[in-house]
């Protein structure tokens, strides 16, 4: 593949994915308001468009038209940089996520992943071998967005919110990272595409075909629950939303932000929810693999893997909203004790057991 075609394909993929993800974020806010409303026996948005479907558009226009205030006494450079950093780091994660296998356009095999490259004449698809680490790195840099937002705002609520956020994200990053090591031990690869491809068959135990899909959720269900809980804390969502606890801190680290700067924090938070959903789908639920449905028309057959991927991610988004509508918020000491005294030892124990099984099996 020549460099021109590669750059052209990459630019098209970047534009498409950014457009799709930002639209998905807008409609997740609609979904969240609808589902939480149903849980609380209300209607949710109904006025703008059928079923309130144009509500995200109205919200977007409102965000753009609001006055962009910069309060006095803020550290101006960092105050403006913080939301940009948060949004940029949230978007960077999507560079390594494989959404599907590959499409063939005019003889060129194009992987459905921004950093995916087609190598050689045989069309063998390659992927960077540190995909997972790039996502973890982008998440850990994203902490700066929140930390600096609170500090530069020159407001006590913002500062308290961002202190809570930094402490919480540093604490839960450990459990999050360690929970994924079990998967890496089983798969022996850091490439997300490779991990997905290993989950395409069914589990065969001692010659007996169990007809269960070869998803890593089955041997690693403890790791999955650690990952899910740590990821909820990383994305500052209920029941771990202490950095923006509105009953204590007004709005936490983004109290002083208005207009599109506030919207950027909002988008970053929802994009991080999507990253968590995509990663859970890729690592534990077999990515774009699913049962083949031969009775469907050819066009649907072609996009079936993408539909499987989207459905699995949507399930995790729904889970986020469901939990938001169900659970109350943790107290701060409970949050720290849960992370350090329960999740972290459990994650280490999971690594030891998985490591022993892999070593004895090999």
């Amino acid at each position: 593949m020549s460099i021109t075609i590669f750059i052209l394909a990459a630019v098209i993929k970047i534009v498409l994915i950014v457009f799709i993800m930002l639209t998905a974020v807008a409609y997740t806010t609609w979904l969240e308001r609808k589902v939480v409303a149903r849980i609380q026996n209300r209607w949710g948005p109904t006025r703008v468009g059928p079923f309130g479907l144009l509500q995200p558009l109205a919200d977007g226009i409102k965000f753009i038209l609001k006055e962009d205030l910069v309060p006095s006494g803020v550290h101006k450079g960092l105050y403006i940089m913080a939301p940009m950093l948060a949004l940029a780091m949230a978007l960077i994660s999507f560079a390594v996520i494989p959404f599907g296998d590959a499409v063939s356009i005019r003889g060129y095999q194009i992987p459905l992943q921004i950093t995916g490259v087609t190598m050689g004449a045989d069309g063998g698809r390659s992927d960077i071998n540190i995909g997972l680490l790039i996502i973890l790195g982008a998440t850990s840099i994203g902490v700066y967005g929140i930390a600096l937002a609170g500090w530069s705002s020159n407001s006590k609520y913002s500062l308290l919110g961002s202190l809570r956020a930094s402490a919480q994200m540093i604490s839960y990053e450990l459990a999050l990272g360690l929970s994924l090591v079990g998967i890496l031990l089983l798969s022996g690869s850091l490439s997300l595409r490779e991990i997905v491809n290993q989950q395409s068959n069914t589990w065969v135990i001692g010659g007996f075909n169990t007809h269960l899909p070869h998803w890593y959720i089955f041997p690693q269900f403890i790791a999955f629950f650690i990952y899910l809980m740590a990821a909820y804390a990383e994305t500052n969502r209920i029941p771990f939303d202490l950095p923006e606890a509105e009953t204590e801190l007004v709005a936490g680290y983004h109290t002083e932000y208005s207009s599109m700067k506030f919207a950027m924090f909002f988008m970053a938070e929802y994009l991080n929810m999507f990253t968590v959903g995509c990663l859970a789908t890729i690592l534990f639920f077999g990515g774009w693999h699913g049962p083949a449905l031969p009775f469907l028309p050819p066009l649907l057959q072609a996009i079936l893997p993408l539909l499987y991927f989207a459905a699995k991610v949507l399930f995790f988004i729904f889970l986020y909203i469901w939990i938001r509508g169900t659970l109350p918020r943790f107290r701060y000491d409970q949050l720290m004790a849960f992370g350090w005294k329960f999740l972290l030892p459990l994650a280490i124990a999971n690594i030891i057991v998985t490591g022993l099984i892999v070593a004895l099996g090999a």
């Binding site: 071998n129 790195g137 850990s140 202190l163």
Partner: protein, 166 residues
């Protein structure tokens, strides 16, 4: 060619970050300059083909250690430092000393170029996670474990220092 241009860009970014780190009076600006230095170092590692080290550099240094630095600066609410006039001894001895040291190191490096040898980074698995793991856990197992014990001792020291007298 592209590699050389990228290397120069990231190296300049790295040096500029380091100079800015010393120039700034506010601790948080200095800490953020250090983040820029770490990130550009990671990019230089990536150019060398050491992708795993680059990712770990970002996650551990830029993402964990520097976040703790920033966290502590925020927690103590440290304000801008005053710029002192600087000591005269540092100016008289330090600047020529640094110059002499720099020239000396450069002269030795250029003069002894032949003896220093080189590292082949053309091997296909150089910088891959498997390759580094094999080095760490097979060839250099003892130094690796001793280092981890060293870190453990440091943590225990911090716990002892941080404990309240009862």
């Amino acid at each position: 060619m592209v590699h050389q241009i990228l290397f120069i860009i990231f190296a300049l970014m790295c040096v500029a970050g380091a100079v800015n780190l010393l120039r700034q009076t506010h601790p948080i600006n200095s800490a953020l300059s250090l983040v820029v230095v770490m990130a550009s170092l990671a990019l230089i590692y990536l150019l060398l083909g050491a992708e795993f080290v680059a990712a770990i550099q970002v996650i551990v240094y830029a993402g964990a250690i520097m976040v703790l630095f920033v966290f502590v600066i925020m927690l103590l609410n440290a304000g801008a430092e005053e710029r002192s006039s600087g000591s005269r001894i540092a100016l008289i001895i330090g600047v020529p000393g640094a110059l002499v040291l720099g020239v000396l190191v450069g002269w030795i490096m250029i003069g002894q170029n032949k003896q220093l040898g080189s590292v082949a980074i053309s091997a296909t698995d150089f910088g891959e996670t498997h390759f580094i793991a094999r080095l760490l856990f097979r060839d250099f197992l003892l130094p690796f474990e001793v280092t981890s014990v060293l870190i453990l001792i440091a943590i225990m020291g911090a716990v002892v220092l941080g404990r309240k007298e009862s």
